[in-house]
Symmetry: C2
Subunit: 332 residues, 2 copies
């Protein structure tokens, strides 16, 4: 149920959000009365109404107001306008994608670095190459004791494992490699481990005596590829410098740990298409943070982009940046 606000109330909410975005200090009536052309008392009575409706909060009885999560929600849904990016900033992002020697995931990672420096927020990409398929496996002997097994997907990701060949020999390895290349190349990475287990293992078990070592090496290379959900975080420590956190030791440790924990950040994975905004308690990471994320979907590679910032972050700017970035990726 959306409660409609008067034009002036909209304006006040927006002003408070903008003001609070500059510094996490409660905004008083005098601070914004000039912009509105009314007296502080008038602003105060409007503020009281906005508070009653749940869009503003006080930190204590005689403090100014801060936006509540509902307030931000209302702002994001009704008040926010896409921010026009200057050509310069957008250009920098686009340039990254014109560099053809970068594979897609590197280009994304580079552009997130740019965004995190620009905004001082934290930028995350979770690639899950769901659609990529096994392109080729190969072994290269490096000395008398070991060979390197190399596994490549059709979107250019490479994994490698060392195989100890003391208990086997090159011919047996060659046989297995041939088998894999014949039977399971083209299989989606997600299924490749199973295929190895149920289609290849029974065969090699019959005529390769010491197949365990080789089997294990490929198995683990495949799992690595599958799990290379490849989380890249840029500007992780940016978050520590925001005033609302920077002098709170406990919060800082908390944030450092949360942003280091791969599982926690990867829990922001499932959502609809488009740009999704999770304000405070709406995300399951931290009530003091907002996470804005979107899926991307290039040819054969999909993933999630996310920008993490304090709740008072510049929503309009981040949304616009993500839109630009997403279109860069998908135009690839």
């Amino acid at each position: 149920m959306i409660i409609l606000l008067s034009t002036r109330q909209n304006e006040i909410l927006k002003l408070i959000i903008e003001e609070y975005g500059k510094a996490p200090v409660p905004v008083g009536s005098t601070a914004i009365c000039n912009t509105l052309g009314v007296s502080p008392a008038t602003v105060r009575s409007e503020m009281a109404k906005l508070e009653e409706m749940g869009y503003l909060e006080k930190t204590h009885i005689s403090s100014g107001r801060i936006p509540s999560e509902n307030g931000y929600r209302y702002y994001v849904d009704n008040l926010m306008k896409p921010k026009n990016m200057t050509g310069e900033e957008v250009l920098n992002l686009q340039r990254v994608f014109q560099n053809k020697s970068l594979i897609l995931s590197d280009a994304i990672s580079k552009s997130l670095e740019i965004i995190s420096e620009m905004t001082h927020y934290t930028a995350v990409v979770l690639g899950n190459n769901d659609d990529s398929r096994l392109k080729k496996v190969e072994t290269i002997p490096i000395n008398k004791d070991s060979v390197i097994a190399i596994v490549i997907t059709d979107n250019g990701h490479v994994e490698n494992k060392k195989i100890d060949i003391k208990d086997t020999n090159l011919e047996e390895i060659a046989k297995i490699v041939e088998l894999i290349n014949k039977l399971i190349v083209g299989t989606p990475i997600s299924e490749v481990s199973e295929k190895l287990e149920f289609e290849i293992k029974p065969i090699i078990g019959q005529y390769v005596t010491n197949h365990e070592v080789i089997y294990n090496a490929f198995y683990s290379a495949f799992s690595d590829l599958k799990n290379s959900s490849e989380m890249t975080v840029k500007g992780k420590n940016n978050m520590l410098e925001f005033e609302e956190f920077s002098s709170n030791a406990k919060k800082i440790k908390d944030l450092v740990n949360k942003l280091d924990d791969e599982n926690l950040v990867s829990s922001i994975k499932e959502d609809s298409n488009g740009i999704n905004i999770y304000i405070g308690a709406e995300n399951n990471i931290d009530d003091d943070l907002t996470i804005i994320k979107t899926k991307y979907n290039a040819d054969n590679e999909e993933g999630t982009l996310a920008i993490i910032g304090p709740k008072r972050m510049e929503y309009d700017k981040v949304v616009s940046l993500l839109e630009v970035l997403k279109s860069c990726i998908e135009r690839e």
Copy 2:
């Protein structure tokens, strides 16, 4: 100039260091008088002498004593005895190196993880594969627009780059790969970029029209290998939990940034053989930390191990652990 201490003074210094190791609280005379079998007053007069000699400090005029950096230095040089590790702990480390499917650097990284969990300190390895040589390069086409260039060293490290082949063709790439494999395989990684530039580039420049893209891909793969000084940090956030830091927001941010900065940590690289201990100001990272490090030198791979902890860290334990680890690596 070493000032000799009486047996009792040695004992007091050692007790204070041990006590202060448990918690960063100044140690008073009563806390250790029982162990020594003398009255607090006696301990106090000895403490006063130790302070005058520079081995102890007070935080304020009526506080207990804490060890000074000189005190730790004296302890490390004269008092500390290698700590006997329990079989269990050592065994865990050794097991890692018996797993033949791990290349050396992965085994080291895994064992540092064990150590950092065990000690709650931060563990770092700086591998610089000075002696490794180029084993093979290879290209694998993944779609009509691009091939993946793969570069392998004789100690099993693999790098890969995407090459955009819009402006060239597979045959030309094959020629270049053949050339590289003929002419510069076996070259130390450190020299391989030069060789590429001065021996290969002139040749391919003559008869491969669009060689720039291919050349650049290999050049950048080689540089990546060379610069894969591959710093691995385990237990980075452990440091934040030590009482002397855990409630100091500024210090925590400071530590997080320092431990994130690759250059800063890699400045702990050059030293003599054996185990080196840098207490507080002796290291150039942080006056409140001690860094214990040692070089390792396996067949064709060398690097540096380091354990970072608060100044009151368990010196004996860390030294013993590093000795065990070093011998594990060098026995490989």
